[in-house]
Amino acid sequence: MTATMHVRAQPGMSPAGGASLSVRPGAALAAIGVGALAVVALWWQDTFVLHGLADWLTNAGRITGLLAGYAVVVLLALMSRAPVLERGVGTDRLARWHAMGGRYTVSLAVAHTLLIIWGYAVSAHTNVVHQTATLVLSYPDVLMATVSVLMLVGIGAASARAARRRLRYETWHFIHLYTYLAIALAFSHQFSTGADFRNNAQARWLWSALYVFVAVVLLWYRFLTPVRAAVRHRMRVVEVRPESRDTVSVYVTGRHLDALRAEAGQFFRWRFLTHSLWWAANPYSLSAAPRPGLLRITVKIIGGHSAALRALTPGTRVLAEGPYGSFTAGRRRGPKVLLLAGGVGITPLRALFETLPATPGDLTLVYRANTPSDLVLRDELDGIASERGARVHYLIGPPGHGRNDHLSATRLKRLIPDLVGHEVYLCGPEGMMAAAQAGLREAGVPRRHIHQESFTF
């Protein structure tokens, strides 16, 4: 399945047109860090002096436990689809943070469990097995928390890269939903046994407020907002058109679509209400500028989900969350623009190619593909180029080494002599993006002139 996601964070233009609230990645990380410090401070202020191994173990367990309890809500918040984060940090980066943070959080939870068992066993002069039994059976809510940590380990294992490749996306997705249950199960033991909360009502209030706040944000942006949009726009599939052997365009219509104020370069999370597709909302970029009452996406058929898109029938109801992303005209700072696409990464650039304001000669599209059959929408691109007086270059063939690569600095400069004066919009698969970045930088294009969007599978 193809997902088009955003990497670069820019305050940029909001979908609604005006300047809107967003948070830069650095600021978001700083906020997360400050929260973690506050959590450690909570431990610090009610801990006096540590004596011996038992205290060290128990308190290391307390710190890791507090941090795990905090990290888990941060992970949820990252996936909350709050526009502040989606627009500021970017969907792609949020997903990467979530994946990295997920592994870290599971490790913290496991460390917490083992350290507490070991620490209590040392202070009670029993063995670890006996202490585990005591903790699970006689400490309030610890049984639930034990189930929770085991679930987290299972979910973490299922999400690990190796397992993820073997699992169907559907299976992984459903397994992942159990994190909500795991978090709920682990909550009560924090207050009933947590030394930092048991006798500190203020800490309990703040901690609960954090959890409730994130829950409300999740409910609002992941549930209420899409439902409201569904009621308002009543989107339906009008046409499904094969573009090549393995790409398909889906046309969607609905009411008041102009109120969405979607821009070329943005994406929606699409949920097609058929028997096999309703459960997943996948991000696909608009592959054409929005027309009155009509949106179009173009999807490369890779996984089960995208394959099922081919079988969509007109009339199928669609829920679309969005628009998301700031890979739009708002990023641009200069008159000359190079759109650099790889494979199916053409979709948002196709829309931008059509709409980016430019005088003839200022707009260039370079489309990179390994084989001619990987090029999609070629007729449309040629049509737009001749209509707008823009240039299109197709670079076809397998990647080369060093200077011989299609996207090396030398080759790019040969293609576009005044490359350095261009704003670059870059979208494609990971390898292509890395090659393009390296080539552009070497050619002397400043980093702030490169706006990129990666798509992942």
Partner: protein, 165 residues
């Protein structure tokens, strides 16, 4: 991989640093240790400053030892030092015949400020309960179950030595 290594070592070093910062200094001992005396034996419940400094809590079961006082029928028994999750509790009872006339803490340590606060609230209640119950069958002080458990255990060991049921 590099990032994983970095975050793991970073976390471990951070936690170790935090813990070692907290390892300097003395265990908190509640200043003058509280005690309570039966009104008949002396003039009301009083506090006496039997401050005992211990840098490390003794291991449970170490301090079982009875000491006789000069008074003829009055004997003082020292209970076991019991380590709870939050500190060490050790009780000293003075018995005249089969009557508990005085009960005091030989040790009441807390590893953190919160526990110290709880201890200082619970201690007088536990002592009074002991004098009125004249046994180790006393109610748990709410919010101080660990201290109560430790107290009862130490008290029971002292009463066992005294031969009081």
């Amino acid at each position: 991989m590099k990032r994983v290594l970095l975050s793991v070592t970073g976390t471990v070093l951070g936690v170790v640093a935090l813990l070692s910062f907290k390892s300097h200094g003395q265990a908190v001992i509640g200043g003058a240790l509280p005690s309570a005396t039966l009104p008949a034996a002396a003039g009301g419940a009083t506090s006496s400053g039997a401050s005992q400094s211990t840098s490390a809590p003794p291991t449970p079961g170490a301090g079982t030892r009875a000491t006789s006082t000069a008074a003829s029928a009055t004997k003082t028994y020292l209970g076991t030092a019991v380590q709870t999750q939050y500190g060490v509790v050790q009780v000293k009872v003075t018995v005249a015949g089969t009557k508990i006339t005085n009960v005091a803490f030989a040790q009441l340590t807390a590893f953190d400020g919160r526990s110290q606060e709880i201890n200082s609230q619970a201690a007088p209640i536990l002592l009074q309960e002991t004098l009125s119950a004249q046994s180790a069958q006393i109610d748990t002080v709410s919010g101080a179950s660990y201290t109560t458990d430790g107290y009862v255990q130490s008290l029971q060991s002292a009463l066992d030595q005294a031969g009081i049921q």
